[in-house]
């Protein structure tokens, strides 16, 4: 066992091994967090740029020329093709780089080992590799923002033939190539991260941590990783085929196309095929983004309501249900592609079933809050905000899931409003809630509460002000991704509403700088955190303030109970951490829990998967 000995003697690692090419899950989580925040700033800024054009058509943007250069045309307006690039990159960055890598990467990496009670991820090396593949993919995507022909501009869904033909538009040239390369590397990163998360949860739970005692965060991260593991490879295949169509002259997605009156030689392919492959990833991707946020919310709402989560098993079952259904509803993104209407009705049926587990989750959150001793921390506010977005965005999902209604609503601002509420803003709130809640564990300091409240209210109200009016614009039929509202007589009346939306967007965006300041200031100057600031039950709060490599200085604590023993009748305190055995709490034990005392010796005796081989 040569490699076990390596763990036993600890040497101080050099700087670049400790902070840059680190194998420690906590450092990697922070790397993901900072990268995610960096990308979020860029992604949000891009949206402000196109909101300027939408709210104030033909606005003079000469003052942006120092940054955007040739993308501001001679008359001082935003270049229409660059508008498309902005929309595309906003979507790509937000979906993949912020809410997939930033959210899962940060919290799965940080919380899985800490909450299941492991020294580190199953493979620290692959974990490190996962981050650096993500980093390379980020570099390529970032670089593509600055090339002369502009970044990819065919929408984040990159449908061919637009994306397959470099001559179709300037953004389909080098920008598209870089997009595909970047995403291929991104998928490798996701794969390496995903197999690590799943394996860690299965193999490295501490003694006593059965699946029925796992915090809901871990269940969410586990299911997210499984979704990614199965859906991302399909995007990889789709992207590789697209690369061949672009560069090698094949016709997988191309058939009978005329450009400028000239017939292309490609025959035999099908652009609809790409849509099927893309949405087989694309739909689960929605849940890859949302499930971690829901897991984080479950944890924060239970902790801050000082009540057990309502329906722990129902929560797990509904997450499994959502994860399963995620794979068999993809064609609801394609109702109007000329699909057989009968097939459409099947996908409609399956889609509407998702409302059931989603409603179970929403009601469970509300019933957990019901008559709780609610502590309104900023994290709690963001979690409640998430539930609000999840419900209001989810309701429009039921409307959009109808294949008949979709004829009117598809590709309009109604869709934009729907998914920004239900997965965009909701998941972003999950990320923010997580940062506020686990900041003391990340950095050993507290964030400023007052700034957190101000940040919350501006963001929460702002997001509703941005997306609520979009429902009306969408029902009126205005298509998304259009450069200008004013070119069409029918939509001129929405000019005022659009100006309002843009102003709200600018306000929401500006409020994020409060968060940034609070975040960076608190890292260095924040109040020193107590060991368990939120009086939480999960294992991460049993580690030292600054957990070192291996998380716990001595043995890993065993686990005897679930994570939600809050306000238990008869208990001395209003929370009982997972590592407190039933034998120590006779005053609050239920009859079946008294029976579990007999098991404690057995639980303590198991310690065969401590990665450091600590004696027990």
């Amino acid at each position: 066992m040569a490699h076990v000995e390596e763990h036993d003697h600890h040497e101080e690692l050099p700087f670049w091994r400790k902070y840059i090419f680190s194998e420690d899950h906590k450092v990697i989580a922070k790397q993901y967090m900072f990268s995610g925040i960096f990308w979020a700033i860029i992604g949000a800024s891009l949206s402000i740029l196109f909101r300027l054009q939408l709210g104030f058509p033909d606005m003079k943007l000469e003052w942006l020329r120092p940054i955007l250069g040739g993308w501001i045309d001679e008359s001082g307006r935003l270049d229409p093709e660059f508008y498309l690039a902005l929309v595309t990159m906003h979507g790509t960055i937000m979906v993949f780089f912020v809410l997939t890598a930033g959210l899962s990467g940060t919290f799965s990496n940080f919380l899985i080992p800490l909450q299941v009670g492991a020294r580190d991820m199953a493979s620290g090396f692959l974990n490190m590799l996962s981050y650096w593949f993500f980093f390379v993919s980020s570099l390529l995507m970032f670089f593509s923002l600055f090339i002369e022909t502009g970044p990819a501009s065919g929408g984040w869904v990159i449908y061919p033939p637009l994306s397959a033909l470099p001559q179709a538009m300037s953004g389909s040239g080098l920008g598209m190539t870089l997009w595909l390369l970047s995403m291929a590397i991104f998928i490798v990163s996701q794969l390496l991260g995903g197999i690590n998360y799943i394996t860690t949860v299965i193999n490295l739970r501490t003694r006593g941590m059965s699946f029925s005692k796992l915090p809901l965060t871990i269940w969410a991260f586990l299911l997210t990783a499984i979704l990614g593991l199965i859906s991302f490879p399909v995007l990889l295949s789709a992207a590789l085929l697209l690369i061949f169509d672009r560069s090698m002259g094949t016709s997988f997605y191309l058939s009978e196309i005329y450009i400028g009156g000239e017939a292309l030689p490609n025959v035999g392919g099908s652009p609809i095929l790409f849509q099927h492959l893309f949405w087989f990833l694309g739909h689960p991707e929605v849940y890859i983004v949302l499930l971690p946020a829901l897991g984080i919310t479950s944890e924060i709402i239970a902790t801050n309501s000082r009540k057990p989560i309502f329906g722990y098993r129902a929560m797990i079952a509904s997450m499994i249900g959502i994860a399963f259904l995620a794979f068999i509803v993809w064609a609801h993104h394609m109702f109007v592609t000329g699909m057989n209407p009968f097939l459409g009705s099947i996908f409609m049926f399956l889609t509407l079933i998702i409302a059931v587990p989603s409603a179970v989750k929403a009601f469970n959150y509300i019933t957990t809050l019901w008559r709780g001793n609610i502590v309104f921390t900023p994290a709690m506010l963001f979690s409640i905000g998430l539930v609000s977005f999840f419900i209001s965005g989810g309701l429009t999902g039921i409307i959009l899931g109808n294949s008949a209604l979709d004829i009117q609503l598809h590709d309009t601002y109604f869709v934009v409003a729907h998914f920004h509420l239900v997965m965009g803003a909701a998941s972003a709130f999950g990320f923010l809630a997580g940062v506020y809640h686990w900041f003391p564990k990340f950095f050993g300091r507290m964030m400023n509460k007052t700034l957190g409240y101000i940040h919350f209210w501006f963001t929460f109200v702002g997001i509703y002000l941005v997306f609520f009016p979009m429902h009306y614009i969408g029902i009126a039929g205005f298509p998304r991704r259009y450069y200008s509202f004013t070119t069409y007589e029918a939509f001129r009346t929405f000019g005022d509403l659009n100006m309002f939306v843009s102003l709200a967007a600018i306000m929401t965006f500006s409020a994020q700088f409060l968060f940034l300041w609070n975040f960076f200031y608190s890292i260095f100057k924040g109040k020193k955190a107590p060991l368990n600031p939120w009086k939480s039950n999960t294992l991460e709060w049993t580690t030292p303030l600054h957990p070192g490599h291996g998380n716990w200085p001595g043995e890993i604590p065993p686990v005897y109970r679930w994570a939600y023993d809050y306000s238990k009748p008869g208990a001395n305190d209003d929370f009982i951490p997972q590592n407190v055995p039933y034998s120590q709490t006779p005053e609050s034990n239920l009859p079946h829990e008294n029976a579990l005392i007999a098991l404690e010796k057995e639980i303590e005796a198991q310690n065969y998967n401590d990665q450091f081989k600590q004696p027990h």
């Binding site: 193999n203 941590m209 059965s210 199965i230 990889l236 295949s237 061949f244 997988f252 035999g268 065969y608």
Partner: protein, 258 residues
């Protein structure tokens, strides 16, 4: 951690999912390999679904409509008529003989892989080396055969095929030999596109498998696994190798049999 550490541990009957042990008695590395293979299954599934969708968007050959079979870009070719060449037997029609031999070699290399894994369990270094060598040889032979088959596919038959196409508004006839990513003597260009892409993608997997096998052989022969006390690495790479073989069975079925 290691497989040996867990198998020596006292067995916690029925409580193996209680935490503190590897519940399925599988080390993290092997578990990761399984999850990777699940992921890769979906990569190949996507490609084979692509094949199915494009293949069935073309007409099938029907003697009642098309008369006697000849290569034509109007319908999907019959695979037995496309793959009927064997090295050194020029001009003799031997449908699917060569690819049958290739398939046999690849599946046989799976057998030798199993024997290597089994020898690893017995800690028999010499036997592991021997069977790893046979497996590597099988993999290389398969790759070599594939290279020959591709070459033949690219160069085409002696006669070639006459295709009709519109150039500058005029119908012109032209004889083409073999196939590439834009032209195909055997049938629609999509047939060749898919053939090159999917067998190429599989071949890349075989190639990486051979590289991994060579690495394992090298480390075995330097006694690394003997010192480590177990040959689990052989098992993990073995899983990958069997997976690549299994995928070939599907690729073979899709391209050559259906």
């Amino acid at each position: 951690m290691s497989a040996t550490a867990t198998t020596e541990a006292p067995v916690f009957d029925k409580k193996t999912w209680m935490g503190g042990v590897e519940p399925m008695k599988v080390s993290y590395g092997k578990l990761m390999m399984w999850f990777f293979l699940i992921s890769d299954t979906f990569t190949f599934s996507a490609l084979l679904v692509t094949y199915g969708l494009i293949r069935f968007s073309f007409q099938a050959y029907d003697p009642a409509i098309h008369g006697e079979f000849h290569f034509s870009n109007l319908y999907w070719p019959i695979p037995e008529r496309v793959y009927e060449a064997v090295p050194f037997l020029h001009g003799i029609q031997l449908p699917l003989v060569f690819v049958g031999i290739m398939t046999f070699i690849l599946i046989f290399s799976s057998v030798t892989m199993v024997l290597a894994v089994e020898a690893g369990h017995r800690m028999d270094k010499a036997a592991v080396e021997k069977y790893m060598l046979w497996t590597i040889l099988g993999g290389l032979t398969f790759l070599g055969s594939q290279a020959w088959e591709w070459t033949h596919f690219i160069h085409g038959t002696d006669e070639g095929s006459v295709i009709r196409e519109i150039v500058n508004g005029q119908w012109v006839e032209r004889t083409i030999f073999g196939a590439n990513l834009t032209e195909n003597q055997y049938g629609p260009p999509a047939f060749a596109d898919l053939f090159f892409f999917i067998t190429g993608f599989h071949g890349t997997h075989v190639l990486s498998g051979v590289v991994l096998n060579i690495l394992i052989f090298y480390r075995t022969s330097f006694g690394l696994y003997q010192r480590r006390g177990h040959y689990e690495m052989v098992e993990k790479v073995g899983l990958y190798w069997h997976f690549v073989d299994l995928v070939w069975v599907f690729v073979f079925t899709f391209f050559y049999l259906v």
